[in-house]
């Protein structure tokens, strides 16, 4: 008898995710919880949750949590990290944000945290729209994507081009690790877990800002089945958002 898999300890008992069926948020939270378990960080971690679908993360994770104003999770995390450092305590601080939070409303805070080289980790779930409010077009929507505020599809003349967050963060000198991963099949889920683990380890070693962008599906707002949305990520979204590690301070 050998248990291959069981619910991570960091997940609260009897919690039921409030996400839509097939949403990749659940997989991302599970990976984060597994990595926190493996690194033994649960007792020493402060999570900064954000606005969006990730807003009630503290209902699912057995961690100390704080809710940041919309888009300001990295700024709040900076304050927490520095305040504890002044008191001589080393806390593990990470943010969990959507693309509307990290790359749209909070782009200034996020980018400048990376430029300052704050020793925090940011995880950004990119589902190419504002999922919680009804699938409006976000800065990450790809060209031609039909959303509730772009019924003719995203047009480069009027709406401009989508932002490639992981590449932008990789350009910042304070960044220690920046990667983009996806969750559409088992192989990529395992790659995503490795990337999250690396990002968390880099913070533990004090190397600077570490960042993981996760391409996730939004079946409800894309109006596709869970499997079809995974196929869309694999065949369409990865053309605009190539997967890979864009900065790794130990390999550069």
């Amino acid at each position: 008898m050998q248990t291959i898999f069981e619910t991570p300890k960091t997940i609260k008992e009897n919690s039921r995710f409030s996400f839509c069926p097939g949403c990749d948020h659940g997989v991302a939270i599970k990976l984060v919880a597994q990595v926190l378990d493996e690194l033994g960080l649960q007792e020493n971690t402060i999570l900064v949750a954000s606005s969006g679908c990730s807003v009630n993360l503290y209902d699912y994770l057995e961690l100390d949590c704080i809710e940041a104003p919309h888009g300001r999770a990295c700024a709040v995390a900076t304050g927490i990290k520095r305040a504890h450092k002044v008191q001589g305590k080393e806390k593990f601080v990470f943010t969990y944000q959507g693309d509307g939070d990290f790359a749209s409303i909070g782009l200034g805070e996020s980018l400048h945290s990376a430029l300052r080289g704050e020793n925090i980790t940011a995880i950004c779930i990119n589902n190419t729209n504002f999922g919680m409010t009804g699938g409006q077009m976000g800065p990450t929507s790809v060209l031609g994507q039909i959303t509730s505020t772009s019924p003719q599809g995203r047009n480069k003349e009027t709406h401009g081009f989508p932002i490639k967050t992981a590449e932008h963060i990789a350009l910042c000198d304070g960044t220690s690790f920046s990667a983009r991963v996806a969750l559409f099949d088992v192989k990529n889920i395992l790659k995503a877990k490795n990337a999250i683990k690396k990002a968390f380890e880099y913070q533990k070693q004090g190397l600077g800002f570490s960042f993981v962008e996760i391409l996730a599906s939004c079946p409800t707002n894309w109006r596709l089945s869970p499997l079809e949305s995974h196929n869309k990520i694999e065949n369409e979204l990865t053309k605009t958002y190539p997967l890979g590690i864009f900065k790794d301070i130990k390999n550069d």
Binding site: Q2, I4, F5, T7, F17, P21, G22, G26, P226, H230
Partner: protein, 70 residues
């Protein structure tokens, strides 16, 4: 005999596990649960499960709470 445990109250019938199982041992139930969902069901009459845990890895709701290998 390897097996998995499915928590019916958490399953939202996205059926990603059905597509992930290499042995096709997971199927949708014929009767709905309290939420009116035809949740996933594990049926392994020939004891084919290899405990690869792919179903547990892709499940977005952690409804597959345990995978045991023997």
């Amino acid at each position: 005999m390897s097996y998995i445990v499915i928590d019916e109250s958490k399953c939202k019938s996205c059926y990603l596990c059905i597509n992930a199982c290499p042995k096709k041992l997971i199927k949708a139930k014929e009767k709905p649960n309290n939420f009116g969902e035809y949740t996933a069901e594990f049926k392994d009459d020939k004891k084919e499960c290899i405990a690869c845990a792919k179903c547990a890895l892709v499940c977005p709701d952690i409804a597959i709470t345990k995978v045991v290998k023997e």
